[in-house]
């Protein structure tokens, strides 16, 4: 090991500390672990499963402390029951924020290539302002992969009388949604994974919150964003994306995204969406219109997964707007609670748009169906218009759901 470098870097880490006469890392040098080079030990520390482990490792010695700050992967995982205590969780959040602040300050600490924040608890809650700050941090400071998984109640402000997360679907829509400030641009981020179950707040009706009710990814310039997954974000009101180089777009379980606004995304190869009607066309109709427009924006799709549920006959009309998708080679249709003939018409309509299909997967869950297997096969045969010359593989699964 190079002592000179070690001493110099150690000093650099605390430039405002004139009394610090760094000693060399004698302790480490006597131990076998000093056989490892700095880079290799940084690599080893990167394998530690959580930021808590990394923190403890940094408290081992001066050498480790310095190297720990160079680990570009930060994983804050709170899945322990202990975090059901609000106090414990708050301390953990302060820890997250301390580490993030320090990394962002630069100096000798390495930037963050991969940031994971995963909080799970049923008892304690997180201030939505923290979530907002993390998302902004992720977009601004993370260079590769940003994962935010929240399975935890959110609250607004420090008001202990906060109201959050009830399942009353009849709320005024204006009061629902995540608070998220406008997101900054992210020139480097490659992969964003937001899993925000419970991400629903009842906000005070103050005007200041009006523009923040929706998750809006409007105006983020993410020219290099290639992968975008959102799961369980069922309560977000609006999603507006401009990501011209997006390749993978996963949007399942988003029954309540009322507006999806996308620009042309010619690079998208993998798309996963749902098309379902909830509570009548006045409610679900425009959801599906958005989805179909999404399909129109992703003309060069290759892998398409669609979840269909409970379509009424109005939907069949809508399905006719599904564009031709000549590049789709792999189509997976998951039909949930099929109970009407309309569904088959919708399914066939989608299949008919993918003329060059090679792999087709049809997964049907049925309710009250008399002859389930025959019907799907029969319809395949009867629908003469669809000719899939390139089809190589077909997989049809039907399962029965019985109501007891």
């Amino acid at each position: 090991m190079d002592f000179i470098t070690v001493e110099r870097e150690a000093k650099l880490r605390r430039p405002r500390d004139p009394s610090d006469h760094s000693t060399s890392c004698d302790g480490d040098d006597d131990s076998p672990i000093s056989h490892l080079s700095d880079d290799v030990l940084v690599h080893v520390l990167g394998f530690l499963p959580t930021a808590t482990d990394l923190m403890r490792a940094r408290a081992v010695s001066r050498w480790w402390c310095r190297l720990g700050a160079r680990v570009p992967l930060l994983r804050f995982l709170c899945i322990d029951r202990a975090f059901d205590r609000q106090e414990t969780l708050d301390r953990f959040i302060a820890f997250i924020n301390n580490v993030l602040t320090r990394r962002a300050a630069g100096q000798s600490d390495a930037g963050v290539e991969e940031l994971t924040i995963s909080l799970k608890s049923g008892m304690s809650s997180v201030d939505v302002a923290e979530v907002d700050a993390w998302i902004r941090y992720g977009m601004q400071h993370v260079s590769n992969t940003f994962t935010l998984e929240l399975n935890i109640p959110l609250r607004s402000g420090n008001n202990s009388n906060h109201r959050y997360l009830d399942d009353d679907e009849d709320d005024d829509d204006d009061n629902n949604g995540m608070i998220l400030a406008e997101l900054p641009s992210s020139p480097r981020l490659k992969s964003v994974m937001l899993s925000l179950s419970n991400a629903r707040l009842r906000l005070p009706t103050a005007a200041a919150f009006d523009s923040l009710v929706d998750l809006s990814l409007e105006n983020i310039k993410t020219p290099r964003l290639r992968v975008f997954h959102m799961r369980y974000t069922s309560l977000i009101g609006k999603l507006t994306i401009s990501a011209p180089r997006l390749e993978e777009f996963i949007l399942p379980y988003t029954g309540r995204v009322s507006v999806i606004n996308v620009e042309d995304m010619p690079c998208v190869r993998i798309l996963e969406i749902d098309l379902w009607l909830l509570g009548g066309p006045q409610y679900g109709g425009h959801i599906n219109k958005d989805r179909i427009r999404l399909l129109q924006c992703c003309r060069f799709l290759q892998f398409l997964t669609i979840r269909l549920k409970d379509n009424g006959n109005a939907e069949v009309e809508l399905m006719k707007d599904v564009p031709e998708l000549p590049h789709v080679t792999s189509l997976s249709l998951r039909v949930i609670e099929m109970n009407e003939m309309y569904d088959i018409a919708s399914v066939l309509c989608v299949i008919g748009r993918c003329k060059f299909l090679k792999h087709l997967e049809l997964d049907i869950k049925m309710e009250h169906w008399e002859r389930p297997t025959e019907v799907s096969n029969q319809n395949q045969k009867d629908y003469h218009i669809i000719s899939l010359e390139h089809l190589q593989e077909i997989k049809i699964t039907c399962s029965y759901m019985r109501n007891h």
Binding site: R56, S61, C65, V99
Partner: protein, 173 residues
């Protein structure tokens, strides 16, 4: 014509066989030569690129950063992964078992484990490097700083200021 192409195919076959069984000499920093199959040597990205660049296969490759004991152990890994197939479930299971036993044995001799890690890093043997670094990380994880110091024989050398700084960051400990 048919016989001609048949003979050409046979020649190509023979050549392929020959390159498959080509032997490569690796020399430790103590000057000890180890003769290994090319498939085994190609586990190392460093050697692989030298071979592919038309490097001096005949003269062999001196490895000034690796001692004989470490090199022998590294070769043991490369032989297993380079010379054996891993197509079937059984073959993969056999390799996984080899890895498990291999790392368990290394883990018993920490200083040697670190030497092998450094050699794997130097030679860019991805699988071996991942195996050893993961093993070291597994020893660290879930331990308090004091337990880590004990496990690795590291002397405490943090100043009060270092401690203060770490405490400041680590509010949840």
């Amino acid at each position: 014509m048919a016989t001609g192409s048949g003979a050409a195919a046979a020649a190509a076959d023979a050549e392929e066989k020959e390159s498959g069984s080509r032997m490569i000499t690796l020399t430790s920093n103590e000057g000890k030569a180890f003769v290994v199959t090319e498939a085994s040597a190609r586990q190392s990205a460093t050697i692989r690129s030298m071979v592919d660049d038309g490097g001096c296969v005949d003269k062999g490759f001196p490895l000034p950063n690796v001692d004989s004991k470490t090199l022998a152990r590294v070769i043991q890994y490369c032989d297993e992964h380079g010379n054996k197939e891993a197509h079937t479930v059984d073959e993969r299971a056999a390799l996984a078992k080899f890895d498990k036993d291999f790392i368990a044995e290394l883990d018993a001799d920490k200083a040697f484990l670190y030497d092998v890690t450094m050699a794997a890093n130097y030679l860019h043997i991805q699988g071996l490097f991942a195996l050893t670094t993961q093993c070291i990380a597994d020893t660290i994880k879930g331990k308090t700083p004091e337990e880590i110091r004990t496990a690795f024989g590291i002397e405490y050398d943090l100043t009060a200021q270092d401690e203060e700084e770490i405490k400041e960051e680590d509010t949840h400990a």
